[in-house]
């Protein structure tokens, strides 16, 4: 899609295939990123009056990295990783999640969400709570429902665990809206939401997240064989570069074209970003009173007296 070369993130340290492709402009100082995000986790929990956190561990790189960051911030014993496969989820996903749990030595729970999801959509001849029509539901509907079922489980476990739900979405998926509203994007706070996928990979490599997790093709694993890049029609390095220049560096369409990005890619990504604006914002409230939350009642989320 775009011109320009990519560098080897391992800097030639290893003759083997590089762990991932890194566009040079997305290279970050991983120590600073680690420092800030770990401090952020600690601070968010402390300000809210909590000492524990939990997250949904999918087996993918994003939640794996967040698990590493949270474990470093508050100790692995204070992190609960919840594995929430559906019956068609890849068994590899659970295996990879277990790799993370074993390496960190943190507590974990396995909650099979099949009954919840099948209880709504039905299974085989059985009709679920959603009625007969729900049996014909598209993969997209089922995928969104699974994401929201996981959210329900996490928020329920947050009560029994006594911790806050830590978000695991990255900047790339947030910008193009590749997430389920009130599903996987639901959280108390998110330490990696301002890191592009290519940057998540760098920090993950620096923190020794298992290589097999860094190398595998990212997938929402909502249906068998699904991969992010096939679904989006972009590779992450391409998409990250385009978003970086378009949004962070404010390049115009003309400038992006001159840089070698394809016009069709620019148009498509701009549309994805615009269409998903609602997913990144708090739902709007009609302005009526003299002071309205988010408009002219503006307080820090955390202030004296706001913690539990």
């Amino acid at each position: 899609m775009a011109g320009g070369s990519s560098s080897d993130p391992l800097g030639g340290r290893e003759p083997a295939e590089p762990l991932f492709e890194l566009p040079p402009e997305l290279a970050i100082d991983t120590e600073v990123a680690r420092r800030v995000t770990v401090g952020f986790v600690r601070n968010q929990l402390r300000q809210a009056g909590f000492s524990r956190g939990l997250l949904g561990l999918s087996g993918g790189i994003d939640s794996a990295l967040v698990a590493f960051l949270v474990a470093e911030a508050i100790g692995p014993e204070n992190l609960l990783c919840v594995l929430m496969p559906y019956r068609t989820s890849s068994s590899e996903s659970v295996d990879h999640a277990r790799l993370v749990v074993d390496q960190l030595g943190c507590p974990s729970d396995l909650v099979d969400i099949s009954q919840i999801v099948d209880g709504y959509f039905g299974r085989d001849a059985e009709v679920g709570a959603g009625g007969t029509a729900a049996r014909e539901a598209s993969p997209l509907r089922r995928g969104n429902f699974m994401a929201r079922a996981r959210m329900c489980v996490l928020y329920d476990r947050s009560v029994t665990w006594g911790g806050l739900v830590v978000g695991t979405g990255n900047k790339t998926e947030s910008l193009i809206g590749y997430s389920t509203l009130f599903g996987d994007s639901a959280c108390a706070f998110n330490p990696i939401g301002d890191l592009y996928k290519s940057q998540v990979r760098q920090v993950a490599a620096a923190m020794r997240v298992p290589e097999t997790i860094i190398r595998k093709a990212p997938s929402a694993d909502l249906w068998p064989g699904q991969t992010d890049e096939a679904e989006a029609g972009f590779s992450y390095p391409e998409l990250d570069r385009l978003l970086f220049w378009m949004i962070d560096k404010r390049r115009t369409d003309e400038e992006l074209l001159a840089m070698g990005f394809a016009g069709t890619a620019i148009d498509r990504v701009k549309r994805l970003v615009a269409v998903s604006e609602f997913k990144r914002q708090v739902p709007p409230v009609a302005k009526l009173g003299p002071r309205t939350t988010g408009v002219d009642y503006l307080y820090p989320r955390r202030r004296p007296g706001s913690s539990r």
Partner: protein, 312 residues
Amino acid sequence: MHPLRIALAQLAPRLGVLDDNLAAHRRGLAEARSGGAGLVVFPELGLTGYQLQDLAAEVAMRVDDPRLLSLAEETAGMSAVVSFVEEADDHRLFISAALLEDGEVRFVHRKLFLPTYGLFDERRFFAAGDRLRAVESRIGARLGLAVCEDFWHLAVPETLALDGAQILINVSSSPGRDLAAIHEVGLGTAASWRTLMRTYAQLTTSFVVFCNRVGMDETISFWGGSEVIAPTGEAVFTAPLFDEGLHFVDIELGDVRRERIGLPLLRDERPELHLRELRRIIAERTGMAIDAASEAPDGAERPARRGEPEQS
């Protein structure tokens, strides 16, 4: 010989918790005193935290607030720069830096430039100061106080130096951002600040003291990296990024004289030239003057400008 020991209090204030922050300042003062410091510098809004929004009015103090005065009382025989939300008699709120000396509030600088762009929204909550003066200090030097964004405007260090400041003190709550491997220490913000401070120290042939906070307010991380820069533009001391700490730095005030004799940039400044051109520029920008460059017919007499004869 005129040595001075400076203590940089690179604190992580608690947002909106005035009492805790006052206590932290007291501890900082005591530690600085026992370490032999003559001047202690605390960061911007160190007494209140930065991302206050509507909390600003709730943590504001008048300059005669008993809490501020009691903090000042702990500066017998020493100097300290502290920063807080100041409420004026007319109830405007300012981001202020006060020089506390020998038990009293000696001087207050109100932040002049309030960033209201990008992640900043200061103008919504605060009024901008309108005075820029250097102040004579008990340490035997004139000080120039500035708050964070004030240093992103060239006129500030220049004016303070022309007003006799030998030590420029900038207190900051600078949010770390623009994370990229190409920047020095990985942060675009830190790289920019370091460039500015070395440049100002060199061009004003003054010491520059920068105290930047650490810790987090909401989503923002403050990067620290407090520094003391010599009049040559060389860093005397650089504090670690992100870590809280009180750092002692010894300087020799005689270095100001030495540098200004060898490199008499301040002697050669042309404030009268600057002022004349500024008057013209201001008039033009506000549409008050007839533009000399505008097309007058050939040979037509060009009207003289207000207040001064044209030079030929």
